[in-house]
Symmetry: C2
């Protein structure tokens, strides 16, 4: 039977698409390539396979240049090669310096999948990579397989000079124009906000076309398009480009605001799920490791799409040599390890872990090259100590980075154990660093970790303390002290980004402070919705007014109004209200600890491996069902085994 | 005053062009990409410069995507930016994933050259690279600057089916066809030999075109083209593509055969001088390090073009990570170090040495990873122990490789000293290895070095012994023993490639055996000329007949008939007859030791740094003039200072 797949070198597909994405950001008529070192796929790849068969055929199409050698006789691409009964050594040499080096292999007598081996004309041979969706010649993996949906504007408004089209909500789409006058020039001003589209001198993305009657413009992020054209009668539509995910998780409750927030968060997040996890679909349209950490957590309670997490992890870490921090950011290198760990716990994909582990080692070696004389990781010139858009005392080694390194070391120790690589010294390094951090950064007087030990300022911010709680670096006494002295302390500068708000709420929820969580979600996310947001913003400051909300980085429309890191409530409700989390890799075992918090009724589903847990809870009854074994329900201090497909009902 | 240059990241120009070259080899309708890992330029580059100026302008064209930021205001490519009197921080971000990332900068108020700094969005900032030939917007360095010359066929012969065009000598050229019938298909069969062009089922390079009346086909190597077309009246010509070198060195003598050999060698060599040193212009059309070592030696007595050597050295060593031997060949990695050393001695370009030295260290680290328990370098599976197309006992660690490593260590020690990098242990490693080699490989009974110590066969070939003489690893007594027992010993398998014949003649000449040199040149090179060669072949075996000479690698026309490594006599006559060689870097000091050998009269020129040495010698008189100071003439055991532009005349 005929079988056919596209094959490529492991990692090339991800690196090609993430790299291409990073070269596509557009702004005021020019390209803004990502501001870190970019890496693409290998330039040449060798595929090999021994075939023993009855009479049949082998067909190979090469995406690039190259040749197919069968028992040392060479053929060009696209040859149907007849194989008589016998044994054949097949070697396919390909090169592609502008696209994705890949081949389409089809045969009626041999497997056309990962049983082929390949290398990059160096290194060990490994199984060729393939994906079941690329199973025919016309489905070239160089073209990322998005889905499309036609969208029409929901509002059209004429102004003195032009026409404003409103698509009702943010889109990432190709704009189509039909019925244009080919002799007339058409100016286009895109906007995430109406103000941006109409403010033609400042709109972030603009275009100008002429010479045709129909256009399909390049894909862009917008809700509004303001078009100035001399001619009437044009038709404007958009082809929305997206990943056709299945919603495996969901949450509903009696609080209608929370439901609206979840819907907006879900749409925001979905728009940003592309080749990898984007930060924002207008700006920067890049893959940032810290943002991706949040996105991966959200993904696991919504789409549970393993592939996008792996594309993101591969695209971020790249290949040797490691010459800089991921995205140049110290904390983003460290969060990569933690993302990988939580990824493994969720999906249990040991093969992926095995493949990416060597790069984890290289990245950790790079990080360790940044350890100062006192034993702490510290940025050097060219490194960016980000943590958050907030006033943090960043003199010398910064506490929040140490928290992340403690956790990163400990997950590296687990990886080494999972992969049975023998003793590693990562666990010991984690322990030692934790001790040092307590010594240098814990301030008994303030009852908190301070930002910097070398500035002498003993400044306390929420950030390091939040990480200390999230990753159990603080002991129980310290956690309570942090709760009182930092998290509940109004005099400690508030978080302004949904990014770190996500972490703060995680820490609060972990400490059982659900009422604080609900208050913040209602105020902070609710505040954006009150201002008409149909997607979550990059940052929200309630003290700002009107179009002030759209500015950032000194740019009138510099703020992203559709930023993935704002989708945190999806994670929070799934993790702490439905209360589902893995306790061993791939949800082999897991816990369900539902909590109502201040709500009257909650219900929803959480994907757990190849199954789903359904939870319904109100003030009278709790019902939990799992379509996967291995779960334990915890309620009121008691534990119940969740048997496959059997509903546990508890009167509360 | 307006100034303008193209700028790029150091190394990118070379890597881009050498990589492109390695993807261009054509054979029977398919591409044969090089069989080692290929590397291209960086994908994104950041250029920075501070400008303080009076009123003026700055213009930047980006080859790729990107933007120009002037005091944080961004502009698209091709903007004329007006600068008022003041100070400006300029930052240009560019990306190019399909070509050479480069910018053209023009200004009337600032330098547009290496005073700009750049990095690849990682690593230190270094001076931007530029070349004086790329000094206007239309001279894009992505297009390699070849020269062109129209060539007409010198012979046209009709056959029953088609027409054979003979261009008189091998070319690398675009074939032009004019006056074609656009409805008729045209089949083309190229040949280095007439036999190949006419043997349509087996010709190496073929093409088939239709649909136009004029064609300019892609550039290819050929002397003959056999064209089968239904139509008459077509006009065929070729656009010869070449580097417009100046001949800085020359040699003539009373032996007319030698003069013809030199002319053929010169043309062969010139055809193979392209983006880098090619092995052959039809096959493989790749840059091989061992071939390039020979080519560099020849170049220094002919064109003395520093640039092609540097492009070759950069293209071969690539960038981190070093994952395999250069061209996958153990000896080719080691010859790279020696090529670099001789390059430095010739041109004295310390800046180049400084830039490439870090990669030399990485390559040496890689080689040292291949050292076996006995202390010898040894290939592992995937490595190719080439040495020569000859029967060498390659069991375990092979002697010839150790000879190269001894020399490679010693040149690394010199590099470290030249660059004042403090103590290195390379010199010590060289000494130790030499001692070990004498212990394991020197066979007193055979009076020679044996190939392998581990096979037990004690096989002697010429190769290791030749290297031992060339690099003074053998002591004087060993050298005489090698001369008698190996080089003059007819029972030791003869060399069949001009590649190793070049080394053998170097060793013989060094030992003063000029009559042997002359005999071999006359027999071996003369033998090819007798068979009608207009360029030197890859291999010559006088025992073969007719079209047998064209076959190699199991392919009827697999042998390259225009192979650079056959141009060795140019080096030999310059080095040992005119007798000119550098004794310190860049020919700061040099020696002139003319020798007539068995000839009656010789004369010629050798480039020495920015000067030239002219030598005339016959049986009565020696005349030597140098246009560069620093030379010493050695004649009959006496030394004479060569004063600038003063001719030394000695009656002999």
């Amino acid at each position: 039977m005929k079988k056919g797949y596209w094959l490529w070198h492991y990692g090339d597909y991800e690196l090609f698409h993430i790299m291409s994405l990073h070269l596509r950001r557009e702004e005021r008529g020019y390209i803004r390539p990502a501001v870190w070192k970019l890496q693409g796929p290998y330039m040449n790849v060798k595929f090999v396979r021994r075939i023993e068969c009855e009479k049949g055929y082998l067909f190979c199409h090469i995406n690039g240049g190259g040749n197919i050698s069968v028992n040392n006789k060479r053929y060009p691409s696209d040859t149907y090669i007849t194989l008589e009964k016998g044994a054949y050594e097949v070697e396919i040499h390909i090169s592609n310096n502008i696209g994705l080096p890949a081949i389409y292999i089809e045969s009626d007598v041999c497997d056309c999948d990962g049983k082929w081996l390949c290398n990059h004309f160096a290194g060990e041979f490994t199984a060729a990579a393939y994906k079941s969706c690329f199973d025919s010649l016309d489905k070239n993996p160089e073209v990322f397989p998005f889905a499309y949906e036609r969208k029409e504007p929901v509002g059209v408004r004429k102004t003195d000079e032009g026409t404003l089209y409103d698509f009702g909500t943010e889109l990432f789409a190709y704009l189509n124009i039909a019925n244009a006058d080919k002799d007339k020039r058409i100016e286009l001003y895109y906007g995430e906000s109406e103000e941006e589209a109409l403010d033609t001198a400042y709109s972030y993305i603009t275009d100008c076309v002429c010479g045709k009657t129909e256009y399909k413009l390049r894909q862009r992020a917008f809700r509004y398009v303001y078009i100035i054209a001399d001619a009437d009668g044009m038709q404007v539509s958009a082809d929305y480009e997206y990943l056709p995910f299945t919603e495996k998780g969901c949450f509903s409750c009696d609080n209608k605001l929370f439901e609206r927030i979840c819907a907006v968060a879900k749409y925001t997040f979905h728009l940003n799920c592309r080749e990898g996890f984007l930060d924002g679909i207008k700006r920067d349209r890049w893959v940032w490791s810290g943002d991706a950490y949040q996105s991966a957590r959200i993904n696991r309670y919504l789409f549970a799409d393993k592939e996008i997490e792996q594309r993101t992890l591969i695209g971020l870490v790249g290949r040797e040599p490691v010459e800089q921090h991921i995205n140049t950011i110290v904390d983003y290198s460290l969060l990569w390890f933690i993302t990988l760990y939580e990824h493994y716990m969720t999906y249990g994909d040991k093969e992926f872990l095995r493949k990416i582990y060597p790069m984890a080692v290289k990245l950790m070696e790079f990080c360790e090259g940044r350890i100062n004389a006192d034993g702490f990781i510290e940025g050097v010139p060219g490194d960016w100590t980000f943590i958050d858009w907030s006033e943090i005392d960043k003199v010398g080694a910064v506490c929040a980075e140490q928290m992340l390194l403690i956790k990163a070391y400990s997950v590296m120790a687990e990886f080494a154990e999972i992969l049975k690589l023998g003793e590693s010294d990562y666990a010991e390094k984690s322990r030692k660093l934790k001790k040092l951090v307590n010594e240098y950064y814990w301030n008994e007087e303030k009852g908190a970790f301070i930002d910097s030990y070398s500035s002498g300022r003993k400044n306390v911010t929420r950030h390091a303390n939040i990480f200390a709680v999230m990753y159990d670096i603080a002991d129980e006494k310290q956690k309570q002290s942090i709760l009182e002295n930092v998290l509940k302390n109004e005099s400690v500068t508030k978080i302004t980004t949904p990014y770190f708000e996500g972490y703060e709420l995680d820490a609060l929820a972990k400490l059982g402070e659900l009422s604080a969580v609900e208050r913040t979600v209602a105020d902070y996310w609710g505040g954006m919705l009150d201002l008409g947001a149909t997607t979550v913003w990059e940052e929200y400051n309630p003290d700002q007014n009107g179009a002030e909300h759209y500015g950032m980085y000194g740019d009138k429309y510099g703020k992203s109004l559709c930023h993935a890191w704002g989708a945190g409530p999806i994670y929070l409700f799934g993790r702490y209200y439905l209360g589902v989390y893995a306790t061993s890799a791939g949800y082999d075992t897991f816990m369900v600890e539902p909590k109502l918090g201040g709500l009257k009724q909650i219900s929803g589903k959480v994907p757990v491996g190849d199954g789903t847990v359904s939870v319904e809870l109100d003030e009278k009854q709790l019902k939990v069902t799992s379509t996967k074994a291995g779960g334990t329900l915890k309620w009121n201090g008691k534990e119940y085994e969740l048997k496959l497909n059997e509903t546990v009902v508890i009167e509360v």
